[in-house]
């Protein structure tokens, strides 16, 4: 099995685990607001069906990345008793991600009171000890993203995560495919900050074409939205858009625009450390050294997050900030 240091929970954003009975991965909220298939009763039913199918597909991606081994969140009671997730097991934590709060749904023999039934279940289910586990290649889940966006084009994470998986391939063709996927998603969701932000990021980070990134990022920043009206995924998307907008302006030598974009972003996200830094440390990053470091670290932080950041408990964009604070 090819080790792939990325998990779908991260790809979708942060904090996606919940203490449900099944408890593996929580499905992100779908794009809010009415759409074409929600205007009539039958169409609503169809829309709900599509939403359910795409949510089911979303959950399956996590399962496939664990090769069928079902995972769950530790319960509150288990956490209080100090039980550790698979990431802290004897095999050592996989350096690429932190699964410190998830365990296998089927318990290990030592933890199973069921005796014979437990032995049978471990033999019949897709079960193995997952301490220090690896994941299947996320590319294998790519068709599912294609499928879920076909079934429910309003399922934003399907577009963005699918593109992110494509973007992990560093070849130009894979990056172009990711961009095409996002553009298709944008046609269905013209007001999605996440998709606009991802498009901008693809151009800025993958293609290093900041001029092409700007229109998408500006469009995201110009959306008439309030941060508190956005769901978690879209709020993250909008934050990211402002950050990449600042970076792109900076790269294009438009320091004034960068400063103004940071100020606008701070009106929506007043606590965002990267935007604060953009606004506050302007003198430093106006220096040649500051510029170079800032750009390199921002890109590197973004890519690192994309590849490595299997942190189910923290917003993935926050990794970027941490790196910036290292100055």
């Amino acid at each position: 099995m090819k080790t792939a240091p990325i998990a779908i929970g991260l790809l979708a954003g942060s904090g996606l685990f919940a203490s449900t009975l099944r408890g593996e991965v929580e499905v992100p909220k779908h794009h809010a607001g009415p759409n074409a298939h929600e205007t009539h009763a039958s169409a609503t039913l169809l829309g709900q069906f599509r939403t359910s199918v795409s949510s089911w597909l979303w959950l399956r991606t996590d399962l496939y990345l664990h090769n069928g081994v079902e995972m769950r969140q530790l319960t509150e009671a288990e956490r209080r008793r100090g039980r550790a997730g698979v990431g802290n097991g004897e095999a050592g934590q996989d350096a690429l991600h932190d699964d410190s709060t998830i365990v296998t749904v089927v318990p290990s023999k030592e933890r199973d009171f069921r005796g014979f039934f437990g032995d049978i279940e471990r033999a019949t289910k897709a079960y193995k000890p997952m301490e220090g586990h690896s994941h299947n290649d996320p590319k294998s889940a790519l068709p599912l993203f294609r499928l879920m966006t076909w079934i429910d084009p309003q399922f934003i994470p399907g577009w963005t995560t699918g593109a992110t998986v494509l973007g992990r391939e560093r070849s130009d063709s894979a990056i172009d495919m990711g961009i095409e996927l996002l553009k298709e998603g944008l046609e269905h969701n013209p007001n999605s900050p996440s998709i606009l932000s991802e498009l901008g990021r693809f151009y800025a980070s993958k293609k290093r074409d900041f001029a092409k990134a700007l229109p998408y990022l500006r469009r995201a920043a110009d959306l008439p939205v309030r941060a508190d009206q956005l769901d978690e995924v879209e709020a993250d998307g909008l934050t990211s858009a402002y950050r990449w907008l600042c970076l792109s302006y900076r790269e294009l030598g438009r320091s004034g625009d960068m400063y103004r974009a940071a100020q606008r972003g701070l009106q929506l996200f007043p606590d965002d450390p990267l935007l604060l830094r953009c606004a506050a440390d302007t003198p430093y990053i106006f220096t040649e050294k500051g510029q170079r470091e800032w750009i390199e670290q921002s890109i590197s932080a973004s890519e690192e997050h994309e590849h490595h950041g299997h942190d189910h408990d923290h917003g993935h964009e926050h990794h970027d900030h941490d790196h910036d604070h290292d100055h």
Partner: protein, 258 residues
């Protein structure tokens, strides 16, 4: 002699199921879904083998469960409602024989539907380029044993309650027992000794339908076939549980005024 009686009754159930349209509706529905999946593969989404297998076993599990419950839940109550029970009971057969024969018929009808769905699924999977693996045979065998247990549970419930109530409860048990067991295993360590005893009791009487489903091993790559002792153990458990259910149904039905 008993086997002949059981077989005669079972054949009647099987013939009726075959001629009733609902069995074929389910088969056609399964075919449409699988064909749609096949078409999806055909039109260019490559690399969906795992998903196709997963969808296949999910659809199979869902439909065969529905068929098992709907076929079995109405058997006994319909016999009473339509008074077809009287000519049966007027024959020199015991009520246990009647239940056993009906159960055998329900199981055979369910297995037949399952095999039809399995064949359709296999065709669809072939369209995805999914290769045959030995574990798929194990999947089918264990699933069939599990469906037999489900039929026994449903028949027993139908001896105690109305067909709709029996069907509803059977669905709850069929789809919920694994979740209940999962909940028990999650909560066991952090529960009091009294609750732990209670959990063990619940676990011992609940039908362990989840154990018969090795779908996740089939759908995902590189899982070894299930060891033979496990297959044997599940078979023994299935027969014992179904037998126990049959005895429970008989204890209610043996002296029931009809």
């Amino acid at each position: 002699m008993k086997l002949r009686v059981w077989w005669a009754l079972a054949r009647g159930v099987l013939l009726e199921s075959l001629r009733r349209k609902d069995l074929w509706v389910v088969a056609i529905l399964g075919m449409i879904i699988m064909a749609a999946s096949g078409a999806l593969g055909f039109f260019g989404v490559d690399g969906l083998q795992t998903f196709a297998k997963d969808l296949g076993v999910t659809v199979l599990g869902l439909f065969s469960t529905v068929i098992a419950i709907l076929t079995t839940a109405r058997l006994l109550p319909d016999e009473i409602r339509n008074r077809t029970l009287y000519p049966l009971l007027a024959r020199p057969i015991s009520r246990f024989d009647l239940l056993a024969g009906k159960l055998m018929g329900a199981i055979l009808a369910t297995w037949l539907a399952f095999v039809i769905l399995l064949a359709l699924t296999s065709v669809a999977l072939l369209m995805f380029g999914v290769r045959f693996e030995a574990i798929m045979v194990q999947y089918a065998l264990l699933k069939m044993v599990g469906l037999g247990v489900l039929c026994a549970v449903t028949l027993t419930l139908s001896a105690f309650m109305t067909p709709s109530a029996a069907a509803t409860l059977s669905f709850v048990v069929a789809f919920g027992s694994s979740m209940i067991v999962r909940g028990l295993t999650m909560a066991y360590e952090t529960s009091s000794p009294a609750m732990q005893w209670f959990f063990k009791f619940i676990n011992s009487i609940l039908p362990q339908f989840g154990l018969f489903d090795i779908g996740p091993r089939v759908a995902n790559e590189n899982w070894a076939p299930v060891p033979l002792w496990v297959v044997g153990g599940l078979l023994a458990y299935g027969v014992a549980y179904a037998g126990g259910m049959l005895l429970l149904a008989w204890s209610k039905f043996r002296s029931q005024a009809v």
